[in-house]
Symmetry: C3
Subunit: 162 residues, 3 copies
Amino acid sequence: MRFSADEWLALHELHAEYAAVLDARELDRWPALFTEACSYKLQSRENHDRGLPLCILHLDSRAMLHDRVYGARETIYHDPYVQRHVGGPPRLLAREPGEPGDTLVTETPVIVVRTKRDAMPEILVAGRYLDRVVPTADGLRFAQRWLIFDNDLLANSIVDPA
Amino acid sequence: MRFSADEWLALHELHAEYAAVLDARELDRWPALFTEACSYKLQSRENHDRGLPLCILHLDSRAMLHDRVYGARETIYHDPYVQRHVGGPPRLLAREPGEPGDTLVTETPVIVVRTKRDAMPEILVAGRYLDRVVPTADGLRFAQRWLIFDNDLLANSIVDPA
Amino acid sequence: MRFSADEWLALHELHAEYAAVLDARELDRWPALFTEACSYKLQSRENHDRGLPLCILHLDSRAMLHDRVYGARETIYHDPYVQRHVGGPPRLLAREPGEPGDTLVTETPVIVVRTKRDAMPEILVAGRYLDRVVPTADGLRFAQRWLIFDNDLLANSIVDPA
């Protein structure tokens, strides 16, 4: 199962925008990359593979994403850090026909590197995104973005979305 | 020398499938990504650059790949870990005309991140793939995939193919 | 804002070549990837974001790039290491119409992994490239390549260009 060239370019535009927004910590722009009803999840591979519900974060509307941004910005005290997302090529798992265009079900490997002040970069998360991407009037958006991380141990709590 | 858009999409489909199979530890699906006669090698950069034959692993048929999978699964006792492959863009080194299609000789940078239980992710391998990719009735397949790793020191023996 | 398929392929050819040249330490081939007048900068994110001029390295002609290569090769004594560049998808920030083709202003996340002899790979730099890429008779070339790195701490001085 293969992307068309147009899908490839549009999907990478979305992926690159997503990474850039988080890596620049422009969190206010993060929710706009999702559809109004959506599913954002941050879950360990172990729980995902066993079908267990427990996860670090589960947000299911754009309003909840905004709320999380507010929380990360205003209410959580933490050691400052910046993120850097680097990913592998996406893989098309399924294509669901629809209007105005197909929904793309994809899987994309990712590592998130975290850098704190006066410290060397370290890998915060290794894992993969499980996404459902849909066409909207504003371009492709995430109806689902789940980050399933390999590491059951997390280096301190994750504050920003990843 | 440049890929066509079709080659780019087909090659990334193969690369993404390869990474997904190993990262999900679905090792039984690994040999099917190679041609029947093939060359899989895991070799240090130092030995590769000097033309020395010594390498960690050298398998030259799909049957040997199956044998290695059996070994990794059934006979080797080791501390469990999972892999995550993240790569840079492939580079076209040569194109060899043929039927039903050209053989693509490519080079692709890669890092393999390893995560053990209750531990943070760490870089297991940094290096590059040297591949020969050929069209078959089932799509593109590896006639050659050599992982040339930069690190002459390896964090314990590598058990799974990488 | 989106790349055309041709731009995507041409840009990745340049990116892959750039990484391959540095990772193979074929430094003599590095300046040829830039235009005659050019800007190469290695700067911390903190200084870049504040508009401060201080940076690790700033070279603004191909001749200066050659000079730096000579320096890295002949005059600096250092613990040998090799690099491995792995990047995310590029993002098109602006397109400036021109002849014989548009200038592409892009941003690309990158991590550079460094491996020393008898040591495991480690992340040397996490950051992003801020590029201006222009068409020339020899294909796309960098009129600007700035590596803005997240880590204000650097693991020893960087010797080779990155």
